[in-house]
């Protein structure tokens, strides 16, 4: 009996509707609260996120998957308020991010301790809130999969096998190596979403086809980031990303395609966009992405079908 754990309780997969599979409501490396430069006025941030989610819902979106892991901006009570007062289902994440963004408390935990933590958050609940995490987030840095990150991957794989939940990764730089680690742990690769396949510096259609062949989902989720935003590996003009998606669909892997925009409604301790670019939200993706894809020959109905059907294949927990 499949279910999807949202912050307001489990729902039936049919209720997912249009789902943005790799978004962030709040995201920031742990420890930002120790840096007074980045303090903010909490109610203004809540009001801003609420307005963005309401706009997302008005444009047809029903579900947002917040991929902020433990200590990386996940705030379950805030998500419950946002979900309740905007009508959008929000799915919270367990797991971490890349190695250096794992909080110091968890850095020397063993594989089994991390697996127990993830399993607890998905099956029992996050802290005292009684809210269950919907999936596990892992990630790796730009240069390699470090020892800590490999531990995190193996722990996530074991927890995912025990709980039946999905794994969403950060970073496609070493996507194939990640899938080998998951396969060595005996995880069914159709439960894995490899994200940021459309990062500027790592577009590689052969790798994506190989991953899709192994059953994993490829998430092209850095679309609405303005090309002028320079730093980091996500920028890059959207036309090249749209061509990549078209090639992926032409290769017959449309059922392994995930589209999203990896925006931060509010960044904790850093700023997602420089002063020269606007602040995009998921609503901008629903407004902007169909046009970008239509120009490379992908119809709008295909876009809405992908946004509705594919997340329903990966997010539900058996």
């Amino acid at each position: 009996m499949a279910c999807v754990n949202t912050v307001l309780g489990p729902i039936h997969p049919d209720e997912l509707g249009v789902t943005a599979t790799h978004e962030h409501i709040l995201w920031g490396p742990p420890g930002w609260e120790y840096d007074p430069e980045w303090w903010f006025h909490p109610p203004k941030v809540f009001a801003k996120c609420l307005a963005d989610l309401v706009e997302y819902r008005e444009l047809g979106g029903t579900t947002v998957v917040c991929c902020s892991g433990i200590g990386l901006g996940r705030d379950v009570e805030l998500y419950r308020m946002l979900s309740r007062y905007s009508g959008v289902h929000i799915i919270a994440a367990s797991g971490f991010h890349e190695g250096r963004n794992i909080s110091p408390h968890f850095q020397d935990k063993s594989i089994d301790e991390m697996a127990a933590l993830f399993e607890h958050e998905v099956s029992a609940g996050i802290g005292d809130s009684g809210v269950k995490a919907g999936f596990i987030k892992v990630g790796h840095g730009h240069y390699d999969i470090s020892e800590l990150e490999e531990r995190e991957h193996r722990a996530a794989a074991r927890a995912a096998r025990r709980t039946g939940c999905a794994i969403i990764t950060h970073g496609a730089w070493f996507g194939l190596q990640e899938l080998e680690i998951f396969a060595s742990e005996g995880l069914d690769l159709s439960r894995v979403v490899v994200s940021h396949c459309s990062s500027a510096n790592v577009m590689d259609i052969e790798r994506d086809k190989a991953m899709a062949g192994m059953g994993a989902f490829c998430s092209y989720d850095t679309f609405t980031i303005e090309p002028t935003w320079n730093v980091g590996s996500y920028a890059g003009d959207d036309e090249r990303k749209a061509d990549l998606v078209k090639a992926f669909i032409d290769a017959g892997h449309i059922d392994r395609l995930i589209l999203s925009s990896d925006v931060n409604l509010f960044s904790l301790g850093w700023t997602r966009s420089s002063p020269y670019t606007g602040k995009t939200t998921m609503a901008d993706m629903l407004r902007y992405l169909p046009g970008v894809l239509r120009r490379v020959g992908i119809s709008e109905s295909t876009f809405w079908k992908v946004m509705t059907e594919n997340p329903k294949k990966v997010l539900p927990i058996e």
């Binding site: 309780g9 909490p42 109610p43 203004k44 809540f46 009001a47 801003k48 609420l50 307005a51 009570e77 805030l78 419950r80 308020m81 309740r84 007062y85 005292d128 809130s129 009684g130």
Partner: protein, 311 residues
């Protein structure tokens, strides 16, 4: 070991400091969600509640007891976010505020049901969470007391004896029946806070119950004569009441609060009173009425520290 259940965990009584005993963040009768005319912008209201609490904190407050019972404005997520954002110790409470503030689902229930419900919320957690309530509300106001309110009082008394929490009543109209029920359930008077003692003024009654051990709460500070509530009266009268009780040597049984709410669900912004105004305006008024600084400290810090924690 005496402790107070806040929405962020436990708290040692010594850390309570100046306490707002009978306040609300959101307050209103159940069923307001059905009427879009009563809807509001949650972003604006959250900011207003945040500003109210921060104003209270900057006036010197440290602990905030939210007296909205089940279904009448108690939203755990709002409490937790405000507690973590302002640094105040916010305590959520269980119990109901009377017939009109009880949702129909609970109308046909008896005292045993209420007892198990309150004990569950005080010891295990509220709703699906494991966040524990800190205080029990026993509302009422109907004269004579209705069956449902009597069952709620009885359930509250039994839960208080079982868990060691304090009971906070909200209206003085049916005082004799309330005290009869508490006596019948053998609830220690020192665990009872009689709210609303400044709605129907009777100094002798206040002295009588204070001598019996109950705490007398003047908890409508700020509801001046221009307010539309039936029991509004000038704050000067309340200051005189406090002075009279102190002169009678009953200062250890006094609680003063504003009974304010950040947002009244269904009626909009509550201009009547503000939790920060108790410290900003009423404390100087007490000083002008001849109340010593130590007595003010006793009313706002020592008395709540003695009655509210779970013994």
């Amino acid at each position: 070991m005496a402790h107070l259940n806040t929405v962020l965990g436990t708290l040692h009584p010594e850390e309570m400091g100046i306490t707002a005993v009978h306040e609300h963040i959101l307050f209103g009768p159940p069923g307001w969600e059905a009427d879009p005319g009563a809807w509001f912008k949650m972003g604006k209201v959250f900011e207003k509640c945040y500003n109210d609490l921060m104003d209270f904190k900057l006036q010197g407050g440290a602990t905030f007891i939210d007296a909205s019972g089940i279904g009448s404005g108690r939203e755990l997520d709002v409490h937790i976010k405000l507690a973590s954002a302002t640094g105040l110790h916010v305590v959520a409470s269980t119990g109901f505020l009377g017939e009109l503030f009880t949702a129909p689902h609970f109308h046909a229930r008896d005292a045993d049901y209420f007892e198990t419900l309150f004990v569950h919320e005080l010891t295990v957690g509220m709703g699906r969470t494991r966040v524990k309530a800190g205080v029990i509300n026993a509302g009422g106001g109907a004269q004579p007391m209705t069956r449902l309110e009597a069952a709620q009082h009885r359930g509250a008394a039994r839960a208080a004896r079982k868990t060691g929490a304090a009971v906070m009543t909200h209206a003085i109209n049916a005082l004799d029946e309330q005290l009869a029920i508490f006596r019948e359930e053998k609830l220690d008077p020192a665990r009872i806070i009689l709210g609303g003692c400044d709605t129907r003024l009777d100094l002798e009654r206040d002295k009588r119950v204070a001598k019996a051990g109950c705490y007398v709460a003047y908890d409508h500070v700020g509801l001046e004569s221009w307010s539309r509530m039936a029991h509004a009266l000038p704050d000067q009268r309340r200051a005189e009441l406090v002075k009279a009780m102190l002169d009678a040597g009953l200062g250890d049984r006094l609680i003063v609060s504003a009974g304010s709410s950040g947002w009244v669900l269904g009626q909009g912004e509550d201009h009547l009173s503000n939790v920060g105004n108790v410290l900003r305006y009423f404390v100087p008024r007490l000083a002008a009425a001849g109340v010593a600084e130590a007595d003010v400290r006793r009313i706002f810090a020592d008395n709540p520290k003695r009655v509210l924690p779970i013994q």
